[in-house]
């Protein structure tokens, strides 16, 4: 036990002496959360819109006012002819142009329909779709108010869409759990695999091997400090997402932390496993990044739903640990469900952890060959 503690102390010294390790450990997660949360936002806020109003009556005024007062759009420019549309789009000032046909108000009251065009910038399909959806929603809303006021007999049946759990369809709801999942596995696996291969590269492993330390003591000695620091990391990310993005944890916090510990342990043991098969730090970094980052982003359901993938990918995805953790964390954080809903995923992660540790101890070379 004293040997083990001595080893842990040494690892802590390594971590605190190395500025880069600390940056990777604490700087990157913070930066990632902030970047994903603010920059890679899928919400629209203050998107520039230009209007080409060919009738200029009080109905079109009302509609354009409603659009601009929604907070999603900002009136950028009023155009006077169709020729201006291309120009204002090319300049990039307006992300959308809304065109009201001639005699808009009159034909709406008279014939019950009028022509309106929403033109968006298709070179950015995601934004374009979002803008169309938001604008359509506002117009539909207006439509309902307008018909509801009894001016016309045509009552349109409008489906009312409500988003459960994330009513505002906020991007952070998706990104915070995703980033925790991605960052934790990357950092844990990367850091542990590097610290072990570093001992191999610097020749210190040679001396450790010719000592009475057992493989399990070396492995646990490496894992313990990173386990503690990663756990602090998770708490830091959660605090950050709570205070910066107002993202609360709906379910039990204790359960979330417990599941995070399991996930960290799994990631650390994966890192150990990587280090037992790589000889150099470079190899370990390569495997950790390429072997973990891309599959985690693409196949964990973080960004792209697994259900929509071809069967083959589904099978590959099912061996990716992040896939299960993302289900767990989303359930607890956003839906607020209890352990009963995530026990299956928890069991799978536990089995994976046991498997990785078992393989690491077996693979750990007690000699130099």
């Amino acid at each position: 036990m004293k040997r083990f503690l001595g080893f842990v102390k040494k690892e802590f010294l390594h971590i605190f002496r190395d500025f880069r390790t600390l940056i990777i450990l604490f700087g990157i997660p913070t930066a990632q959360i902030l970047i994903f949360g603010f920059v890679v936002s899928t919400d629209i806020k203050d998107a520039g819109v230009a209007f080409l109003d060919l009738s200029n009556d009080d109905v079109t005024q009302k509609i354009s006012d409603k659009i601009c007062s929604s907070g999603f759009f900002r009136r950028e420019e009023d155009l006077h002819s169709y020729n201006d549309i291309d120009l204002v789009m090319k300049k990039g000032k307006a992300r959308a142009v809304i065109v009201f046909g001639e005699n808009f108000g009159r034909s709406l009251t008279g014939q019950g329909k009028a022509s309106m065009i929403i033109i968006t910038d298709g070179s950015e399909p995601n934004t374009a779709t979002l803008i169309t959806n938001y604008a359509t929603a506002i117009v539909t809303d207006f439509n309902r108010e307008y018909t509801g006021s009894g001016l016309s007999g045509a009552v349109l049946l409008q489906p009312e869409v409500r988003m459960f759990y994330n009513p505002g369809l906020k991007g952070h709801y998706m990104f915070v759990p995703g980033v925790i999942t991605l960052i934790m596995i990357l950092i844990c696996a990367l850091m542990t695999s590097i610290t072990i291969t570093r001992e191999k590269e610097f020749g210190t492993m040679e001396v450790l091997l010719v000592s009475p330390l057992k493989p399990m003591q070396i492995i646990l000695g490496k894992v313990t400090p990173y386990f503690l620091l990663s756990f602090i990391n998770v708490i830091m990310i959660l605090l950050l997402s709570y205070f910066v993005f107002d993202l609360p944890v709906k379910g039990s916090l204790a359960l979330l932390l417990a599941e995070s510990m399991l996930y960290i342990l799994m990631s650390l043991s994966l890192g150990i496993l990587i280090s037992t098969v790589s000889r150099t730090m470079q190899q370990a970094i390569f495997i950790s990044f390429l072997g973990l980052m891309l599959p985690t982003i693409l196949l964990s359901g973080f960004i792209f739903p697994i259900e929509n993938m071809p069967k083959v990918y589904d099978v590959v995805a099912s061996i990716m640990p992040p896939r299960y953790f993302i289900v767990i964390i989303k359930n607890i954080m956003i839906k607020g469900t209890g352990f009963g809903f995530v026990w299956k995923e928890t069991l799978i992660l536990t089995l994976m952890t046991v498997l990785f540790i078992g393989l690491s101890v077996r693979n750990f070379k007690v000699r130099l060959e």
Binding site: L13, F202, L209, L368
Partner: protein, 304 residues
């Protein structure tokens, strides 16, 4: 005398390369046993087999009565090993390194301080300094302290003096001599021939084969020929001229002279005439005692 290491027919292959072949030797308790040989001779591989880091492909290595392949757990408690490369933690201080190795071996610095005090006292003033910032000689002393901290019965030092200045080298050998009082057997390798004389016994190793193991004095005496040391101001021209002399068998540069052996050991005036003809005058020719290196070169030549 008790036997600490017994190697019986050790062989080791790395892929197609035969790193070691048919190695037999014994090391006795309390001895300083040196392995001399050029780079790539197989010294490090042999040391890794002794320290249980590698298993031999053939033969058996017994250290302190234990088999290195089977009883490695038990053995690792009583071996002190200093690898060829400086392999302490560069980002830990002198003190932290020493404490770490003490804990890992289940002891404390205080408990065995007496053993290392001679060596450690040199670097103790710098105990707060990071190991990576030490000079070559100090690094070597720290590494030796770390290897000794658990009072091993066998100390294995792989080229401990490589890359260390001459004064530190001399100091280092003095320290090894002192360690004998504590009943520590020392196995050491070096590429420097002059250090061979400081060992109790020396083994010459070349291309994975053990050529000879004996007391340094005996090895020198085994040189079967008369050896002449030829001195002249222009050493390179002298060497060339000596190699062109028809009766020369070997001519190797050696410090400030050239060591020459001549067919049938007969040295006559014709050599001097040859040198004068080659433009070298005032060459001094004396009969000389063979050193370890002469013997080593002789053995190498016979092998090829």
């Amino acid at each position: 005398m008790k036997e600490v290491i017994r190697a019986s027919g050790i062989g080791k292959k790395f892929g197609e390369t035969q790193a070691l072949k048919d190695i037999f030797f014994e090391v006795n308790e309390g001895e300083i046993f040196g392995f001399i040989g050029p780079d790539g001779a197989g010294k490090t591989t042999l040391f890794r087999i002794i320290t249980t880091l590698l298993n031999p492909d053939e033969g058996e290595m017994t250290v302190l009565g234990l088999n290195t392949a089977g009883d490695f757990r038990e053995l690792r408690k009583c071996i002190g090993y200093m690898p060829g490369r400086f392999s302490l933690y560069q980002d830990l201080s002198v003190e932290e390194n020493l404490n770490f190795y003490a804990t890992v071996f289940g002891t404390t610095v205080r408990e065995n301080y007496a053993l290392i005090s001679d060596i450690y006292s040199h670097i103790e003033p710098f105990r707060k300094r990071l190991a990576g910032k030490l000079s070559g000689g100090m690094k070597q002393k720290l590494a030796l302290s770390c290897a000794l901290i658990h009072k091993p019965k066998l100390l294995v030092l792989d080229e401990p003096t490589t890359g260390v200045d001459a004064v530190s080298r001399a100091e280092f050998w003095e320290m090894l001599k002192k360690l004998r009082q504590h009943d520590i057997t020392i196995v050491v390798s070096t590429p420097y021939m002059d250090e061979a004389m400081r060992c109790d016994r020396v083994a010459l190793i070349q291309k994975g084969q053990l050529m000879l193991a004996d007391r340094p004095q005996k090895i020198r005496e085994g040189f079967g020929r008369k050896l002449f040391a030829v001195r002249a101001p222009q050493k390179y021209r002298l060497l060339e001229a000596l190699r062109k002399y028809p009766l020369t068998e070997t001519a190797y540069p050696f410090g400030d002279s050239v060591h020459v052996t001549i067919r049938n050991n007969i040295f006559d005036a014709s050599l001097n005439e040859h040198l004068v003809r080659s433009g070298i005058e005032n060459a001094s020719i004396t009969e000389s005692e063979a050193g370890i290196e002469d013997r080593f070169l002789e053995l190498m030549k016979n092998r090829i």
